[in-house]
């Protein structure tokens, strides 16, 4: 069961081969066994989870089931879920119990999916290794001495170790795709605005986007059918017509034009990763695709631009944590100002503080034009690179991350080295484009992800491109050793 697709699990439920309660209990048992080591989940609530499973069984019994009814899904702890502890990986929110549901959570509730628990993450989604979490790091199921990637590291480890049927994540600069690459599964960051940010704790609002993390492209398509949709409560939600993301999965790839940006294969890319990506490209040629050389000349500027825009937006978003209405309040303080300063100093971890300080600096009087405005201008140049590229190709491919999973602690004290992890993923967030990562093989026993970038609203085609590859290969079916 643990390696079954969502469709197979749905069939098992529909044919009464297993109940949702039994399926949920089986995953909860796996979590009990493996989570003490892996630390993928930071909040579990068995009674609530099993009550949802029971309700799902009742729904299935009366013939009202949808595809994901009764399926146990792990939710990144960035999503508010009513009456669930919702911490965003921070001490600041360690005691926060969400009083309402995020749009993503209510979408899953509406179809009768089961919330299996809340997954660990880098604090406020700021990190690429899950090491900034107040609740401790997460181990990569492929090698416990290595990081799972981040910020959606808990969801990544949960999918990879088969501690859930599928999971949700969010991606501001690569937080779904980079962990998908490092943990060997399929993850999709949709077009900005496609999935509502309502109730999703804000990091950098113009870049944050939620998406599915699952075993296969087909599973991601089914998750997208639930997650996507217009929501008036998110002012940047796009009123885009509802789509069936599974509709194009079986289209042959004959004649597909794949763009290969020369900047994604330049210096800085690990040789073992490059080899796997070249083999994946060869496989796509066999499937009938045609390769086109393209250039994204402003790629190197994406990290500087991101580290102006994201911290600037974060410093503004995180100003809400003042120790007054919710969140951590210091025990000792002299006056109101002292209470703010001490509560925030105690409640935030080092990386979050750094980003707030960078953001405060670039937005401070006299610097706005030189930093924030300039970054927004270069952001448009980066987006235009893609517009030009998509005149020559249907999708863009390259590596998701420059290396395989690195050792715990290896980059923890060097923010700039950590930031370079996202060199191939950040530009798509800046452009607002959809991107995904699929397992493409291994280098020294560690998973390597192939990145597929699509044009705006082209998720169905990207999922098709990924699915056809997964029909011809079995990289996505590989599981880490010792998790049986």
């Amino acid at each position: 069961m643990i390696n079954s697709s969502l469709k197979q699990l749905a069939t098992m439920l529909a044919s009464k081969q297993i109940s949702s309660v039994e399926m949920t209990q089986a995953f909860l048992a796996r979590i009990k066994k493996f989570n003490p080591e892996i630390n993928a989940y930071i909040a579990l609530d068995e009674p609530k989870t099993l009550a949802q499973a029971k309700a799902a069984d009742a729904r299935i019994a009366v013939g009202k089931a949808e595809t994901l009814t009764g399926i146990p899904i792990a939710q990144k702890d960035i999503f508010c879920a009513k009456d669930w502890q919702t911490t965003c990986g921070s001490k600041m929110l360690a005691n926060f119990v969400a009083p309402y549901d995020a749009h993503v959570i209510s979408q899953f509730d509406n179809v009768g999916a089961v919330n299996l628990g809340k997954t660990n993450m880098d604090e406020f989604a700021m990190g690429s290794s899950n090491e900034t979490s107040y609740f401790g790091g997460v181990k990569n199921p492929w090698d416990f001495t290595r990081v799972p990637g981040g910020s959606s590291g808990g969801s990544a480890a949960a999918v990879s170790a088969r501690l859930c049927a599928a999971a949700t994540g969010t991606d501001t600069g690569g937080s779904i795709r980079q962990p998908a690459s490092l943990c060997g599964f399929t993850g999709l960051k949709p077009t900005y605005g496609l999935v509502s940010r309502y109730g999703m704790i804000a990091f950098a609002s113009s870049l944050d986007q939620a998406g599915p993390m699952a075993k296969s492209a087909e599973d991601c398509a089914l998750m997208m059918n639930v997650m996507a949709g217009f929501d008036e409560r998110d002012s940047t939600s796009l009123n885009h017509p509802k789509e069936d993301y599974t509709r194009a999965l079986n289209k042959p790839l004959q004649g597909l034009k794949i763009g290969l940006p020369k900047e994604y294969f330049a210096e800085g890319l690990d040789a073992g990763v490059a080899k796997v990506i070249e083999e994946a490209i060869a496989q796509y040629k066999k499937l009938g695709a045609e390769m086109v050389d393209i250039s994204l000349p402003n790629t190197n500027l994406s990290i500087p631009v991101y580290y102006v825009l994201a911290p600037a937006e974060a410093s503004s978003n995180l100003s809400r944590y003042d120790g007054v209405r919710y969140g951590h309040r210091a025990a000792q303080y002299d006056d109101l100002m002292d209470m703010y300063c001490k509560s925030r100093a105690e409640g935030f971890g080092a990386e979050v503080k750094r980003r707030i300080l960078i953001g405060t600096y670039v937005l401070s009087a006299g610097y706005y034009d030189a930093y924030y405005l300039k970054a927004q201008q270069i952001r448009r140049l980066i987006a235009q690179d893609y517009t030009e590229a998509f005149k020559k190709c249907d999708v863009i491919m390259g590596p998701t991350a420059p290396s395989t999973a690195f050792k715990v602690g290896e980059k923890a004290d060097d923010p700039v080295a950590m930031y370079l992890q996202d060199i191939y993923t950040i530009a798509t967030n800046l452009a607002g484009l959809p991107g995904m990562s699929i397992p493409a093989g291994f280098s020294n026993g560690l998973p390597v992800g192939l990145q597929i970038i699509g044009n705006y609203f082209d998720e169905a085609r990207m999922l098709n491109v990924a699915h056809q590859y997964q029909q011809a290969t079995d990289w996505h079916m590989q599981m880490p050793k010792g998790i049986e």
């Binding site: 006056d335 703010y340 925030r344 927004q376 987006a383 607002g432």
Partner: protein
């Protein structure tokens, strides 16, 4: 532009985050590294380029000015560090 310890203290105050002298030293090193990375932007000619905030260049939607939410004060105040009579408590600010 090179930062110094005084800048760090000023920025931290603007951000309402208390920073000890020892932390300020370390923060200075880390922030200087990040600003070094950001400096790469300055060589780019951006004259006449319209800043971009949303990929679809959408504008803010407006809605009818009607009541859409119910009062959930008690529910929301369960998460507050200190409340009394439905009010949030903070240290005295007016004598």
């Amino acid at each position: 532009m090179a930062l110094n310890i005084t800048d760090i203290k000023r920025i931290a105050h603007l951000a309402r985050i208390e920073v000890s002298d020892a932390e300020a030293e370390n923060t200075l090193t880390k922030l200087s590294g990040i600003l070094g990375l950001i400096e790469q932007m300055q060589g780019v000619d951006t004259a006449g380029i319209v800043p971009m905030s949303h990929s679809q260049d959408v504008v803010q939607r407006l809605r009818e000015d009607v009541v859409t939410k119910t009062n959930q004060r008690e529910e929301f105040q369960k998460n507050a560090p200190a409340v009394a009579d439905g009010l949030y408590l903070v240290p005295k600010v007016i004598e």
